[in-house]
């Protein structure tokens, strides 16, 4: 039925099957949209956030998807700036995933603020000292860049490509993509960093606060680094999942291994930096504020030292070792384990940097406050996942996302 739209030389599932799949994802999406509308019309009392948890699940989701979406800028950086040409075979997908992550982040932000209709005040009345202002500007600009990077892909759709104007537009855009990739990398460096700065600058919150250089706390650099390190892992992971679902090999192993190896070295160096940061924080920064390391990890029902071990050792050191070693990369199970751990790592990191910061009391006569999200928060957080699934499905079906697909699946 929709065969005219499907790229030449590839096989796609029957329309009814596709419709069913989209329908299922669409139902989840609608559930999320319903929750979103509740939040907009009834207000944020629909959430389980409170005056102790001004930031909660949503901000974590924002930080996490942006970290994971970092695959787009870093792969682009490697492809266009460093010149790792093989990566052209995965860059489309990296861009798409990045686009989904960033648009989701913006949507979640629009739900998260108490006065969505005044959201643009962040640009109009911008306070240049605020990390959030930096985040908003860079995020929006980079989202623009990602859109520009994504548009040529859309234009490659068989039918659209037939229009000469769009054909030429697409071609010309490809020509200058390096410029945008460079811009994207530059913007990403700042907003990933400023997201790290969000809790790093909170000198009233010793759990999040880090010293740094000029206006930038160390978390500024750690966040950028970890996004660059783990973002590609997320791209690979999603590619692997897509391959699993479609039952096809879509990207050549050497491409994946190259990206995985770079990722491994990035994670390795990141985790060394993170360990140094943690050590300095535990030994110098926190004690200056009157805290021992263990004060941050005791007297509460959830946040034990295990979370630090999980983040640094299990989800940092372990995947780094696997990905750096050739044997590890070549072993499918080990590679998969490493990818999953490398994705969980920054998620845990963003979680503690948002939620544990909120949970921990600073006043001596205050208590730890635990939080669990309301269904509205969960639904609006799953909303982008459903939206991502739909966009990936549509893109995969109608756009030539994977340049190697035809070659790898010749029977089609």
């Amino acid at each position: 039925m929709d065969s005219a739209l499907i790229p030449k030389g590839v096989k796609r599932c029957p329309t009814w099957q596709f419709a069913l799949w989209i329908g299922a994802a669409g139902a989840v999406l609608l559930w999320g949209v319903f929750a979103m509308l509740l939040c907009w019309f009834k207000g944020l009392n629909q959430t389980n956030m409170n005056d102790s948890y001004g930031f909660a699940l949503w901000i974590w989701a924002d930080l996490a998807v942006i970290a994971l979406g970092g695959g787009a800028f870093f792969t682009g950086f490697l492809r266009y700036i460093v010149g790792k040409d093989e990566l052209k075979n995965i860059i489309n997908y990296a861009v798409l995933i990045g686009f989904i992550c960033y648009s989701s982040a913006l949507l979640i932000l629009a739900i998260d603020i108490g006065q969505p209709l005044r959201g643009w005040f962040i640009f109009w009345h911008a306070n240049v000292h605020s990390m959030l202002t930096e985040v908003a500007f860079c995020l929006t600009c980079y989202f623009g860049v990602l859109t520009i990077e994504y548009v040529p892909l859309i234009l490659e759709n068989r039918q659209i490509d037939k229009v000469p104007f769009f054909h030429r537009l697409g071609h010309n855009m490809h020509e200058i993509m390096a410029v945008f990739a460079a811009t994207g990398a530059f913007l990403s460096f700042f907003h990933q960093g400023s997201l790290g700065g969000v809790s790093g600058v909170l000198f009233g919150r010793p759990f999040g606060y880090r010293e740094g250089i000029f206006i930038w706390p160390w978390t500024f650099f750690l966040f950028t680094w970890s996004a660059a390190a783990c973002g590609p892992c997320f791209t690979i992971l999603i590619t692997k999942i897509t391959e699993k679902i479609t039952g096809k090999k879509l990207v050549k192993q050497n491409v994946i291994e190259l990206l995985a190896k770079i990722s491994g070295w990035m994670i390795g160096t990141y985790i060394i930096a993170k360990i140094i940061d943690t050590w300095y924080w535990a030994k110098v920064t926190a004690p200056e504020a009157g805290f021992n390391l263990m004060d941050f990890y005791s007297n509460n029902p959830f946040y034990g030292i295990w979370i630090l071990v999980l983040e640094i050792v299990i989800c940092g050191v372990v995947p780094a070792i696997i990905l750096i070693s050739e044997k590890g990369r070549k072993n499918p199970a080990a590679l998969m384990t490493a990818l999953i751990l490398a994705v969980i790592g920054p998620c845990v990191n963003r979680w503690v940097m948002v939620l544990q910061v909120m949970a921990m009391p600073v006043l001596t006569f205050d208590n730890w406050v635990m939080y669990y999200p309301s269904w509205q928060e969960v639904a609006t957080t799953i909303l982008p996942v459903a939206y991502g699934v739909i966009l990936i499905s549509l893109s995969y079906r109608y756009l030539p996302i994977f340049p190697q697909e035809q070659e790898l699946n010749p029977e089609a």
Binding site: G43, L44, N45, M49, N50, D51, S52, Y53, G54, F55, D112, I113, G114, Q115, P116, R118, G119, F121, I122, W124, H125, A126, N127, H129, S130, M131, L132, T133, A136, V198, S199, V201, L202, F203, G204, R205, P206, P287, E288, A289, G290, F291, N292, D295, V357, M358, V362, L363, T364, F365, D366, V369
Partner: protein
Amino acid sequence: MKEEQNHEKAKRFGMVIDLDKCTGCGACMVACMSENNVPFKEDESKKLDSITWLRVYKLTNGKPFPDAEICYLPRPCQHCGGKGDHGHSPCVSVCPATATDYSNDTGIVSQIYTRCFGCRYCMAACPYHARYFNWWDPVWPDGMEKYLSPNVSVRMRGIVEKCSFCFHRYQIAMEKAHYEGRGELEENEYQTACTQACPANAITFGDLNNPGHAVHELKKDKNAFRLLERLQTNTKVYYISSREWVRRAGDNYLEKEKK
């Protein structure tokens, strides 16, 4: 003349709260709510979404019966000056929309309700929990909105609010002073609602920079302390307690720093 006034030394309004006198009666909290049109809901026992610009904390010394002790500690916004008193309060520096600001003339941290878009970053930044979000639309029972004061605008849902040191009272007092051709206020012309109401006279309010104001000397009391001084928030609310454990409860200390 006018020039001179403008060049006069900047003010730093602040409080000294004598915890030895404070009885925890709660009059300051209610005076604040009543002065500042603070809304209320049917259930205010969920303290994490209960707007109390000034909240009285109950501190205990942690010892068992019969050595247990209690001390009450009223906590308004601390109006932090930040490191070096340059106005880089934890909250002001993070607000993305300049909806909260530090006044170098008065040392007061303001909040512009119509500009705040409710991102709550300032709440995350404040270690004193002095900032409150309007999770709900403010609703008064039919007829009760009659007591709302026009001096303080009613806040809409979805924004952050906090103690302003009753800044509207400063404005009204200044207007009156200007009208009478004065550039300066007398100490008693500008007092916050909580200071005025406190039955124990535990709260003293004034210009910390002005040697003529009571707070100027009181803050130097040997038993005076501030909350979380180690974080260099540089607050303008001082507390006095003759009890060692209460003074130590004002900040975090490492094991080895005990005594």
